[in-house]
Structures are given as C-alpha cells and as structure tokens.
C-alpha cells in the first residue's frame, strides 16, 4: 500500500509542485534588497568602523600612552611609542593602526581608560596604494576632529548601558 501511494505521489509530481509553489509565492514577495549606493542599511551607535583618536574640549589629546589597546589588540594591529612631553605629561610619539591587520573587534575602544581611541561609523574608505590604510597618529586625530560631534553623540547614547 505504501509503495502504491509513493508511486502515485512521484508520478503526480506532488513534491515538485510543492517546491514550485514555494518559489511561486516568493515571486510576489516584496524585495529585501538594499540598493547600496542609493540606500544604506541602518547603523547602530555601537557600529565599529574606521578608528579615530579623540581630544578633550580644550584641544588636548586624550591618549596617555598606557598601551592597553596595544596589549589587548588580538590582531597586533596597533603600534605605540611613548615619550615624556616638555610639560612633563606622558604622551605618544607614535600611534599607528594598520587597518589591513585590524579585525574591528572593538577591544581597543573597550580597553581605553580615557576614551581616546574609538571606532566611528565610517566604513566607506579605501586606499589606493600600499600603505594608504596604515593610519598614523595625525591621521587618526584628523578623523577624530572631523567627526567628534557624531562620536560624542554615540558615546552618550551607549553610556547608559555601561
């Protein structure tokens, strides 16, 4: 009996029709494609994109060269050199992030005691030659200066969850 049922089932192409009904249904379903350059997917305030170094409001850079980010970085993408500045404070003389190595895990941001190194929402950047994606301290500071408003807003939004 079972054999006869399966015989008729396969001859009536029931399974094939079932499959076709699924694709036929999706034919009329609304598209979920985001037309990227025209439309963009929504971002959260914790988005981890291009790195930036921040300053205090008086223009003083935040980074104190504690090297916690360099230590925590799983991809070994951060390189820091530290020296004493004329006013006796501890400052970095070199702060490089190799974005080709970076895996955008956000640990550096997480470990920073003064919120100096942050990851911004920027993800549309590129390098045109080798070394373009090796970000040095002035470059990181420039990114931070340019997008400080957005960065501060995102930190504030995240603050209540910490």
């Amino acid at each position: 009996m079972k054999k006869i049922v399966s015989f008729f089932k396969s001859f009536l192409l029931l399974e094939l029709l079932k499959g076709m009904s699924v694709t036929g249904r999706y034919f009329f379903a609304p598209h979920i494609t985001v037309q990227y350059p025209d439309e963009k997917t929504p971002q959260g305030f914790r988005f981890r994109g291009l790195h930036a170094q921040r300053r205090y409001e008086n223009g003083e850079e935040r980074c104190i060269g504690c090297k916690l980010c360099e230590a925590v970085c799983p991809a070994l993408a951060i390189h820091i050199e530290v020296a004493e500045r004329e006013d006796g404070t501890r400052r970095t003389t070199r702060y490089d992030i190799d974005l080709m190595k970076c895996i955008f895990c956000g640990f550096c941001e997480e470990s920073c005691p003064v919120d100096a190194i942050v990851e911004t929402r920027i993800y549309e950047y590129h390098g045109e030659k080798r070394g373009d994606l090796y970000y040095t301290k002035p470059m990181l500071l420039a990114v931070g200066d340019k997008y400080e408003e957005q960065i501060a807003k995102d930190r504030a939004a995240d603050a209540k969850y910490r």
Binding site: V22, T23, Q35
Partner: protein
C-alpha cells in the same frame, strides 16, 4: 491579415515573376529570425529578473529603466571581447562549432506556425523536420567539446550528447502520440485538429496530459536547462562544452540555447496547447469577448507561459545527478510514453474519444 498577405504575394508575383519566391522567402525568414533574436536577448533579461524575484531581490536594474537595456549592454560587451582560440585546439572545428549549434536551432523555426498560415514553409513533414533539426543541435555541442581540447569541455560534450540522445527518444514518442491523435505531421494541421467549439477543452493536452508533461520535461533536458544542465555543470566541470569559448563564440552558444528554449515552448504550444487558437472560443460569454484577439497574440502568450515555466523550474529545482538523469530518461519517460501511445491508440478506437 491573410488578405493583406495574399495581395502582397500577388503583386510581388506580378512584378518580379520567378525572382519573387526567393525574395519573399528571404523576407519571411528575416521577419521570423529577427524577433527570435530579440526575444532571445530579452529572455535573458526575463530570466535574470524572474530568478531575482523568486530569490526576493530585484535582479538587474542599473542599465536603463528597470534594467531594460541590460541585454544590449551584455551583447555589446560580448561583441567587443577578444575571441581566444586555445593553441592546441582544432581551429576550424573550434570556430565552426557555435555556428553548428545555432544554425539548426534557427532552422527549426521554418515550420513553426505563428498563426493560421503564418509560417515560413508549410511543410507536410513538419514534425519530422523539427525532430531532425533539434537532433542536429547536438553536433555543435560535441564538436565544441572535442575541438576545445580541454577535459572539462570534453566531459561536458559527452554528458550533453548522451543526455540529448536519451531524451530525444522520450520526446520522439511524445510526438508520435500527437501524430496519432492529429493524424498529420503538418504543424498547421495539428493546430487545426484542435479547433472546435469547446475552446481549451478541445486541445490535445487533455487526452495527452502525461505525454505533455513528459514532452516538456524532455524539452527542458534537451535544451540543457536546469535542473538538467549537467553539460554545463559549473560545480564539477567549470562550464562544460563552452569552457574555452569567449566573446561571440560563447554568445552564439548562448543564443542557440535560448533559441532552443523558445522553440520548445513554441512546439509545446502548437502541439498541446492549440497554437494560435483562442482558449475561450465557443464559450458562452468569454468566447464572444475574446474572439477578436489575433491568433499571433494567443500563440505568443502560450509561448510566454511555457518559457516562464522554464525559468520557474530553474529557480526551484536542484541539479540532477547524472545517473538519476539517465534513470529518469530511460526507465520512466520512455516506458511511460510507450504505454500512453498504446493507450491513446486503443482509446481512439472507442466511442469515448472526443477529440
């Protein structure tokens, strides 16, 4: 429409005499082939659009409004590409293979009736001619595979040859039962045999339903379309028989495949779905409402439905394994069609035969 054609023919005959026939035939060929090439181009767009829609994405939409110029862009790209001829290939055969694939695919269109009397050649052995022409297409594929001197192309050609030959049998038997019912090999007469006062209930797909299904599936296999596209199985043999082709050589294979698809759709509509006939003819209200629609439109509509099915299959079914493909062809389709030929032959002798 018919009167217009007749007046054109008569005036032409009077003006040119014996030269008229070749000229008129050439005109008819152009009138048939040019739209086929156009519909091949737009079938590729339709395929990508429909596949996209079924995968919940919009498909190509960058070139022109709604992607409508995409086939043009593809064509220009293929035309401008370099044709690479592998150094160890047989150059003459390598170049002639795409032509051999495309020529029979277009030649078969000579007997397809698009409307009552609207065909290039009113051949009495039309069905045989179609069978012969569709079988010739396999030579292009075998020669392409052999001349490329590449293992992938060779394997693809072998697969495709075995597959086409196997499914041709099932297809042939399917056509035999149509022939039995219509008692004619002239495609125009086959359509006229489906005429009647019951609209679509007079068509052959009702008594021949299993054969219709087998014919269509065998047609999908004949044209090497998914889920039977083992000849160009990218997962195992790169691109099959056209692995080594580029530019226009590749484009010709592409054209041949899609022209064959459209041909199978046209034949299915001629032999099973009443060709140019109105499906509602003779029905109480709908019949009167739709009888003014020209036959050509019905024919094209039926072909479009069949082509949509082709694309629907491709969006739905995973590719067959090769032994399953052969099993389906030899152990299911051929016995099924053979049995149905006998059933039909017996049925036709009884008073229960209504067609």
């Amino acid at each position: 429409m018919m009167e217009l054609l007749q007046t054109i023919e008569q005036t032409g005959q009077g003006l040119l005499g014996p030269l008229w026939l070749p000229l008129w035939t050439l005109i008819k060929i152009v009138v048939v082939v040019a739209p086929i090439m156009g519909s091949v181009a737009y079938l590729t767009l339709a395929e990508r659009k429909i596949l996209g829609f079924m995968q919940v994405r919009p498909g190509p939409n960058r070139v022109g409004y709604w992607g409508l110029l995409q086939p043009l862009a593809d064509g220009i790209k293929l035309l401008l590409k370099e044709i690479i001829i592998p150094s160890s290939s047989n150059k003459f055969l390598f170049i002639s293979a795409p032509v051999l694939a495309l020529a029979p695919a277009l030649a078969a269109w000579a007997v397809v009736p698009f409307g009552d009397g609207m065909q290039v050649s009113n051949l009495n052995a039309g069905l045989l001619y179609i069978l012969a022409m569709t079988s010739l297409g396999v030579y292009g594929i075998i020669i392409a595979g052999w001349a490329s001197n590449s293992k992938y192309a060779f394997l693809g050609a072998l697969r495709s040859a075995a597959q086409i030959v196997s499914y041709e049998l099932a297809m042939g038997f399917a056509l035999v039962s149509v022939l039995l019912v219509a008692q004619s090999m002239n495609l125009g007469d086959i359509v006229r045999g489906q005429q009647g006062n019951y609209g679509l209930f007079g068509w052959y797909f009702i008594p021949l339903f299993p054969v219709f299904v087998v014919y269509f599936i065998a047609g999908v296999a004949e044209t090497n379309r998914a889920p039977f596209d083992l000849a160009e199985d990218e997962a195992t043999i790169v691109a099959g028989f056209h692995t080594e082709y580029s530019g226009m050589g590749f484009a010709l294979f592409f054209l041949a495949e899609y022209a064959n698809m459209i041909l199978i759709a046209a034949l299915a509509s001629v032999m099973f779905l009443g060709g140019w006939l109105n499906p509602f003819h003779g029905w109480p209200v709908l019949g009167g409402l739709t009888d003014w629609v020209p036959g050509l439109l019905w024919m094209l509509g039926k072909m479009s439905v069949m082509l949509f099915l082709f694309l629907w299959f491709r969006a739905t079914f995973p590719r067959y394994r090769y032994d399953q493909l052969m099993r389906l062809g030899w152990k299911v389709f051929i016995p099924l069609t053979l049995v149905w030929v006998v059933v039909i032959a017996a049925w036709m002798q009884t008073p229960f035969w209504l067609w």
